[in-house]
């Protein structure tokens, strides 16, 4: 099947800086594709090139198999939901949604019907006559999407549209956006710096850093099988150790940390004895126990003191200082077992080598 959107060797330079450095990807029809990265990584540049507001330095952008490089932005079969939505404040909601249809020269009554349908679909029937500033943040969001969707674009671009909303509404809109995408059955390309937005909604996520794609995959891929240190550090949280490889047994590695601890981890296979390396372990992969005996089937075991309890409901953590003086973040299970734990208590922690990921370099 032809991908809805395909970028080939896309490069964009501004003077001496390279904002987008040889990026290629395909988005299959009907999928929700996210580009996730810190601000300044070049994700907005990619999006503006797809929309036609920037010209790539080299490379190609294809929509449904055909190049759109020579197509001006007002003729491209893609539409965009802008970061601050860019609803037209001088028009009513109905005029906003009908704007693109009027540009196509559609008959008045047909436009009115389509606008009503769109309002129905986004769950806001009958608000067509209202002004933009009479709507709440979430309603504006839906109108901005409807304004694009009535044009039945091949690809809908969304530029961090949830950024301006407050936390609660943002959580709600994540679910709603996903539902809208299913409802309209259109390809969404979504850019964000918020990993939770990307993880919850996307079929595929590209993690972007410094103009390049670090890894493209499903949320599970990125979380469980990060391929680069950047992805391992950017998606979720991790405790890190640096050191040198001492032993290699297939995928299993043993590393001596700079503080002298021996640790077992899973590596990518390209590492050999003596290499500098870095191990990532997520706080939620670490088991907490009162005695060392309870952790006997874990590959890595440490003993330490609780220096701080960061209570945050289900996401509570404890900070544990091990004998080497390093502080680890460990998830505090809310099973009742550790309800009486206090600062200064001695605890045992352990994790499996399979959940400790090792990358080369790290120096």
């Amino acid at each position: 099947m032809t991908p809805d959107l395909e970028c080939v060797d896309l490069v964009k330079r501004f003077g001496a800086t390279t904002a987008v450095d040889n990026v290629s990807f395909c988005v299959p029809p009907g999928s929700f594709f996210s580009i996730l990265g810190p601000s300044g990584c070049g994700k907005t540049t990619i999006m503006r090139m797809i929309a036609g507001f920037l010209e790539p330095t080299s490379g190609d952008i294809r929509i449904k198999g055909g190049t759109v490089l020579d197509t001006p932005p007002n003729k491209r079969p893609v539409n965009m939901v802008f970061q601050h939505l860019a609803l037209f404040p001088m028009m009513t909601i109905a005029d906003n949604i009908g704007y693109g249809l009027r540009r196509k020269g559609m008959a008045r009554d047909q436009i009115a019907r389509k606008v009503d349908e769109a309002l129905e679909r986004i769950g806001l029937p009958g608000i067509g006559a209202r002004k933009v500033d009479e709507l709440s943040g979430g309603q504006k969001q839906r109108v901005a999407i409807a304004r694009c969707m009535v044009l039945e674009p091949d690809v809908l671009l969304l530029d961090e549209p949830l950024g301006a909303l407050d936390l609660k509404l943002r959580e709600h809109m994540k679910i709603e956006l996903k539902a809208l995408q299913a409802e309209f059955d259109t390809t969404f390309v979504y850019i964000t710096h918020d990993q939770s937005e990307a993880l919850v909604m996307s079929d595929q996520i590209a993690v972007m850093n410094a103009g390049r794609f670090e890894q493209v995959g499903t949320g599970q891929d990125l979380y469980y099988r990060p391929q680069t240190p950047f992805v391992a550090g950017f998606i979720g949280e991790a405790n890190r150790w640096k050191g040198r490889i001492e032993r290699v047994e297939g995928a299993m590695l043993e590393m001596r940390t700079e503080t002298g601890l021996a640790m077992r981890a899973t590596g990518s296979g390209t590492l050999s004895k003596g290499d500098a390396a870095e191990i990532f372990v997520r706080p939620e992969s670490i088991h907490l126990a009162a005695s060392d005996a309870a952790l006997s089937d874990f590959d890595n075991r440490l003993q330490g003191k609780v220096t701080s309890i960061l209570f945050n409901g289900a996401a509570s953590r404890v900070l544990v200082e091990d004998d080497a003086g390093e502080t680890l973040e460990v998830t505090l299970p809310q099973t009742g077992e550790f309800a009486s734990m206090e600062r200064g208590a001695t605890v045992h922690i352990g994790w499996r080598a399979a959940q400790a990921i090792c990358f080369g370099g790290g120096d």
């Binding site: 036609g52 932005p73 693109g100 540009r103 304004r147 044009l151």
Partner: protein
């Protein structure tokens, strides 16, 4: 504390009331009263509508009145049409330094007196002036051309004089137009014309209204430009006021003319505000 605030309030209110009362309201009422009387003999007056009757029946007065109004509207329209693309360029096309410099360049001519600006146009347009010489040099004319003392020269001067008051409010409102709104217009399939008509102009409306009001007022109340650049038959209403007051010493008729000018300008300003659903406070303040 309360009486304290009371005293402060009164102290602050006093200058405002004195200013508006003694220099704006009472003088205008006095002017209205004077326009409503007729001189019987030396120092003897009686109330009458004779002045208004004279002003509204004498063809010269009426013709000048309407001509001034129509020409002022025309000058406003021309100024708007010339200024809009420039203001748009400054607000949306030029970036950074260039934007600042262009904006400053727009302001500079208006730090000099209107008299100097008018004088400049006289030097350019008169029979022995620069443009006449230029035309002869280029072979487009075989004798000196007089371009001064006609309606076109006057229009050039009026538009020039008011330009700043159109450009500045336009630049200010256009600058507040978010780029992404324009981009959204294009993204949804709009072309240059439709984006201009449906997005840019509606957004710039407040600036257009306040610019037009100020320019219209300035043109209507202008005395120098019509006097210096206009021809013998392009009499301006302000010249008639001046003539009645200073030359003829007929204050009754002069005050009547003044009042007519005031009513005309108020009606047009009110009409423009009404048409666009705005208030004077929003537009001027």
């Amino acid at each position: 504390m309360r009486s304290h605030a009371r005293i402060g309030f009164v102290l602050l209110l006093t200058p405002l009331v004195l200013w508006l009362g003694l220099l704006i309201i009472i003088p205008h009422i006095d002017m209205l009263l004077i326009s409503l009387r007729e001189r019987i003999s030396f120092g003897v007056y009686e109330p009458s509508l004779a002045q208004y009757q004279k002003a509204l029946t004498e063809p010269l007065y009426l013709r000048t009145f309407w001509r001034t109004a129509v020409m002022s509207v025309l000058a406003t329209a021309i100024t708007l049409v010339i200024a809009f693309p420039v203001a748009y360029y400054i607000a949306k096309m030029a970036r950074g330094r260039l934007q600042q410099v262009l904006f400053m360049l727009c302001l500079i001519p208006f730090y000099v007196s209107e008299l100097v600006r008018t004088f400049g146009w006289m030097i350019l347009l008169r029979e022995t002036g620069l443009i006449s010489n230029l035309l002869q040099w280029a072979g487009l004319a075989d004798q000196p051309v007089e371009m001064l003392y006609n309606d076109a020269a006057m229009m050039v001067g009026l538009v020039y004089t008011s330009m700043l008051f159109m450009v500045v409010p336009l630049v200010t409102t256009l600058e507040s137009l978010d780029d992404s709104v324009v981009e959204a217009g294009y993204d949804l399939g709009g072309g240059g014309i439709s984006v201009l008509r449906e997005i840019i102009i509606p957004h710039a409306m407040p600036g257009i209204v306040s610019g037009c009001i100020v320019v219209f007022m300035l043109s209507l109340g202008n005395y120098l430009t019509p006097t210096m650049l206009g021809g013998k038959d392009s009499l301006w209403f302000t010249e008639m006021i001046y003539n009645q007051f200073i030359v003829r010493s007929n204050w009754e008729l002069g005050a009547t003319f003044g009042f007519m000018l005031l009513v005309l300008s108020s009606v047009i300003v009110w009409g423009m505000l009404r048409l666009t659903g705005r208030t004077l406070q929003e537009t001027m303040g």
